[in-house]
Amino acid sequence: MDFGLVAVVVGFLLILIGIWGILTQKNIVKIVIGFSIFDTGLHAIMVGIGYLKGRTAPILDSAVSPADALTSIVDPVPQALVLTAIVIGLGVTALMLAYVVRLYDYRKSLDISSYEDLKW
């Protein structure tokens, strides 16, 4: 069983679930939750892509010497990217939630259809 493929597939499914939430839930908090699941899916895909079957973490210690790193570690690059992506995702989520708070202050409503001021 290829864990990498599993992660990729699960990631895609999470993305679809997240989008479903974003598109169908009226409540803006739920929309943000949809985004957070969407993000988790993204991260899962990225980690899955970097995985090589049967290899260890890209940390060189007593178990893995620099010499045989080439054949024994998984790809570190996607992991580095995911670290960045996770932090960015947190930033986006926090900002969205800040929006939610402010929107709520104005209209006392969490329904996205209350916020259609600009259109056409």
Partner: protein, 231 residues
């Protein structure tokens, strides 16, 4: 309902596309060009045992600078418009239980120490600035939970944040003058591989990242926490 049907149709379309992508993915047997380079040369060039850290802080240092900037942005924006009233309104918040307060008093320093440990050792073991910063921020949450009436000095976070950010950029620029380029970690000697004081300036950067992320997240949390008072 009609709307949901449309969404379902749309998601089927998207899912079909994703299926194509997943189908085209079939793992790898060996590291690709970029990863091989890091595996072979990372330890030698950067001197960090944790290759992810080497990549995050050095090879892709600009990304990391960018991402702390994003947190900085978020914190600044949230600070801008989640501003609570200047006077701290003394509404009746139930003081938390004695137990929680005591536990927090003991745990919070420990959590802070753990956070610091994580980002100081980022180049050797799993973890680093982000994780350490996040741990520090969660320590703060505990503090806030146990003493909900305590006014946290967000000015302090802002100062720490600015200082660490500035140092970070400064180290980056120093790389141009002292070494091979922006954010080059070899402006300090690489040291002995696998020890705490190794990998050049990398641990310093990661400490700064840790401080910055920690203070940014703390600032963010404080803002969200303070908005409670307006309620």
């Amino acid at each position: 309902m009609v709307r949901k049907i449309f969404v379902i149709i749309l998601l089927i379309g998207l899912g079909w596309f994703f299926y194509g992508m997943a189908d085209s993915f079939h793992g790898s047997d060996s590291l690709n060009m970029t990863a091989s380079y890091y595996a072979e040369n990372g330890a030698e060039e950067v001197g960090a045992a944790n290759l992810v850290t080497a990549i995050v802080v050095t090879y892709r240092g600009l990304d990391t600078l960018g991402e702390v900037t994003i947190l900085f942005l978020t914190a600044a924006i949230a600070a801008f418009f989640l501003k609570s009233k200047e006077e701290f309104s003394k509404r009746d918040v139930k003081p938390s239980s004695e137990l929680l307060q005591t536990a927090a008093g003991m745990l919070v320093p420990l959590i802070f120490v753990l956070g610091v440990y994580v980002f100081v050792n980022g180049h050797l073991s799993p973890g680093g600035g982000f994780q350490g910063g996040a741990i520090i921020a969660s320590g703060l949450v505990l503090l806030l939970l146990s003493k909900p009436l305590q006014k946290v000095n967000s000015r302090f976070f802002a100062l720490v944040e600015s200082f660490s950010g500035l140092f970070y950029v400064g180290i980056g620029v120093a790389g141009i003058f002292l070494a091979g380029g922006f954010l080059d970690n070899s402006i300090l000697p690489l040291g002995e591989f696998g020890t705490l004081l190794s990998a050049g300036i990398l641990p310093v950067i990661y400490i700064l990242v840790g401080l910055k992320v920690g203070s940014e997240l703390s600032g963010l949390l404080t803002k969200f926490q303070e908005t409670q008072e307006e309620n």
